[in-house]
Symmetry: C2
Amino acid sequence: MIIDKQTLNHYESRYRAKLINSLAGMKQAVLVGTQSTDGQPNLTVFNSLIHIGANPPLWGIICRPDTVKRDTLDNILETGQYTLNYVQTGDFEKVHQTSAKYDQSVSEFEACGFTALYQADFHAPFVAEAPVKVAMKLEQKIDISINNTILIIGSIEQIELDESLISADGFVFLDQANLLACSGLDAYYEAHLIGRLSYATTDKWPTKLV
Amino acid sequence: MIIDKQTLNHYESRYRAKLINSLAGMKQAVLVGTQSTDGQPNLTVFNSLIHIGANPPLWGIICRPDTVKRDTLDNILETGQYTLNYVQTGDFEKVHQTSAKYDQSVSEFEACGFTALYQADFHAPFVAEAPVKVAMKLEQKIDISINNTILIIGSIEQIELDESLISADGFVFLDQANLLACSGLDAYYEAHLIGRLSYATTDKWPTKLV
């Protein structure tokens, strides 16, 4: 079927939101950990992690004021620190539960069954259960004027993961840790590697590396 | 293992690029179709599609001048139009081959084994083999000064997909079309739905919708 712009505009707003959000496809499910300046921890699931560059190592997340709880954004802007945590597929219900709109005084770590882990010299809490934990430092906030969303760009301060996940050339086999992927606001996936391919050149077809 | 910022900085640049890029996780593999003002079609794989908002329907892609061929970006900026095409897992080698640096006079559609499909009143070509085809109109170009990358924001002009993929509430079951996901610059995945969960509220645990 073909859905044109006029038809999209006339859809009921929640129907359109589910359609457009889920159609944007598969993403890593990422738990963002923060802590307010007065010590209140906060945890919420994001599906908008994007690679911005490797030198320096920069990643972005999109904050939509209408769907993302303000706590996380406020904490990032006030403290300049946040953590990104990838958890395993079996935890998908706990991950989803972090999207509930808990009062600011509630720690989603406790409410949803995760353990807050603190490291020296870093204000934001990690998820102890996460096989991949990344410490991020806020570098730039970009206002997207067209719909009042915000692109938060951070630099990677520290990565913690099992050494066996990293291949000789640097590639990280996230699927080997059975990590959770997601799409839209409520769907969760597991992913299986089809293969890695050799660097593409114009004179030959790519070959499978693994 | 823990990799701190200093260690990251000292890694060989290609090793670091593979590590940081693949660690950013799973994404939808998206073929971006464009056509230059003088009629040369162009096709290349992106792994950076992000949902920006549903009302109006806006999606973004990140263009990294160092890794993305300039043709695609130039065509988007000059014509204001591009297509996003999701293809099936069996096509992963053809998808990867679109990342080879072909001369500007070569159509990656032909070189990589895809069929360019034109629709009336739309300048950019679609991938005929793609179960999901989306026509995009350029809305905003945002320069990310911190590392000279570009966020291209477009609005959805038209969506084409099989009606059976859309559930009653608008959610799109992309996994039922067996669509390709990817991570980093060379790894391809297939995804399987674990489940959709009910809207999260603070007073109860989510339940499985499907």
